[in-house]
Amino acid sequence: MNAETPSMAACPACVALPDKGKLLPKLDPGEVAMRRIELSLPTVHCAACIAAVERRLGHRPDVFGARVNLTLKRVSITAADLPEIEDALIETLDSLGYPARPLDSAVLAKSESEKAGRDLLARLGVAGFAMMNVMLLSISVWAGAEGYTRDLMHWISAAIALPAIAFSGFPFYKSAWGALRRGRLNMDVPISLAILLAGGVSLFETAEGGDHAYFDAALSLTFFLLIGRYLDYKTRAAARSAASELAALEVQKARRVGENGEELVPLDALREGDIVAVSPGERLPADGVVSWGDSELDPSMLTGETLPQAVGKGAVVRAGMLNISGPLKIRAEAVGEETLLKQITRLVETAESTRNKYTSLAEKAAAIYAPAVHLLSLVAFLGWGFATGDWRLAVNIAAAVLIITCPCALGLAVPAVLSAASGRLFAQGVLLKDGVSLERLAEIDFVVIDKTGTLTTGKPALVNESDISLQDRSVASALARHSAHPLSKAIAAAFPSDLEIEDIREHPGFGASGVLNGIPVRLGRADWCGAQAGDQTAVWLRIGEAAPVAFLFEDQLRPEAAKTIAALKNAGLKVHLLSGDARGAVAHMAREAGIDDWTAKATPAEKVEMLTALAAQGHKVLMVGDGLNDAAALAAAHVSISPASAVDASRSSADMIIINDDLREIVKSHKIAVASKRRIIENFSIAAIYNLISVPLALAGFATPLMAALAMSTSSITVSLNSMRIGRMK
């Protein structure tokens, strides 16, 4: 951990105050405006990371405070409100080895959701306190206290329990009331009824000096269910923060060339006919025609094709393509709604709206459970009432039935599993946008995977090294050393060379030329070096009048790709490669990765069609993809995963994101999802078994408060322990 690495100063204030660590005087907090900045730090994981990040940021003169939150993998910084401060901070963190991403602090401001969490925690605390005290008092009653002592215990219990259930149970009452008003039954209706009925009946019994009071049951019910509610909140808060992290996209801007030079304008201010400047390394902001310059464009994010396209004046280009080599000026032809980019966005929206609504396991369980419990308790009430004519006894038994069947375990079953599983996934490097995706993932039987950037690294590597002579290698490397072109960089890195070439000149869009021992040398595009362009990505080297030599590049399979595919097949899933690239490249990669079925040259719309067709055949499809051309398919699939390197559109339409960019996480996540679903079903079964034993007893009128307390605690504890096992899976 090198905490003292000097960083590149990127903001005017830092140039004025070069960053030299502690020696610098801090800016006076009284003099400058301050701002709170939140950055996402996906790679922090230990005490040393925390110390390194906080210390390094603390050394900056424009930072007044930095605090890492390891749970959310985030740092919150109080800094001087200077222009570009965010970029400067990100650069500092990057230089320290922690890639950082800006978060939209407006969205993340200590908000409603955080207040909701504290609120739940407070209610949970009150319920726990009251439960334990009432439990203690109840022990004397269960032990056989009688007469005045018992009544005294009941009265004290009532004094503690009634305010506590009024306060702690509030979230349930609110949700139940909301459901009832819309004429529906949800899980909270039987819960609220049980709590209130238990409280009411117990109060009545206490006043009458009766034997049984269920105060402790009402409280432990509230307590256990609040634990479930809190876990549920935690999972959803983590998912929401993941989603907001993804929503905090960089604002899309374009550099418009006007009469007074270039100006940065938002994308939607662009009009047809405007001239836009695009530097190498930038994405084209609009569809249009090249009006000036020569370059090569990388269309892989847009179409999946890996072969760069050479473009010159008059060429038609598409928004979203990456400019590789030379600066370009483009006359915008279609802007806003008409660009290919927007058409893809529309496809995504349509796909999202047609995705069928998924009924989660919890909803299915509630749909069976809620009516059954009410019916049982009503039957008990009427049965005992008419049979014995003792309506007080009937109410007592009906309350006992409600309490005993009440879904402590049921309320915990799903949230406990989902919170354990999503915590496990997050630690492993997978972001889950919502818990239901986990259930969807458990059901898949088919995997459709994209090629460029998903199955492959998306970064071309040299493949014909052995065909190139040593001399050619060192000449090429010497020429390439001075260029920022990605292929040049790859050549320079592959062959270190100390050859000196004179008069090196860059020809944007074409390559580089120089003079070696009086002979002109060139490295660049095929046509510029006098060669015939082939069907593979290549850089050509020409020495004097000799025949040009090709440096062939190919997109490489990710190292873990073949293993991942094999593991997916082992798990009984069908795998299909779906790409927009040319047939040859797709067939080759499919063979290397061990995939038997593949489709090439698929447009974004065809990708969606294929997924819809598979869904119509009854397949539950997992889509894995990263490009713009996959975004709609990701939204249309049963469940979808994107690597973190994906474009924004894909990341926001995928259900899960692999942060650590390792495809094997797909297999692991699938395993965890299947295990989670099994645990949820096991938990439901455990709850059902407890009910099968205790409900007949309650119906028969044998249930005592002690039995209710035992059944409730043991079932909740068994279910929680069973759920925890997810975190311990190998």
């Binding site: 925390i50 605090r67 939150n69 749970t71 306190f129 002592t149 004290i156």
Partner: protein
């Protein structure tokens, strides 16, 4: 049984103190970063702002 008249209030007061301490800890952001707190204790640097601000 007269001892109950003392013991019950005592137990309630003790529980109440615990509950109050819990509320105080919620208010002081002590549940915002459980993982960070677990790691921070390993660092020998003095934690200047344990309440997260």
């Amino acid at each position: 049984m007269n001892i109950l008249a003392v013991l019950i209030p005592v137990s309630l007061i003790l529980g109440g103190i615990g509950l109050f301490a819990f509320f105080w800890s919620i208010k002081n952001n002590q549940y915002d970063d459980p993982k960070g707190n677990a790691e921070r204790i390993l660092s020998d640097r003095y934690d200047d702002s344990p309440d997260g601000d």
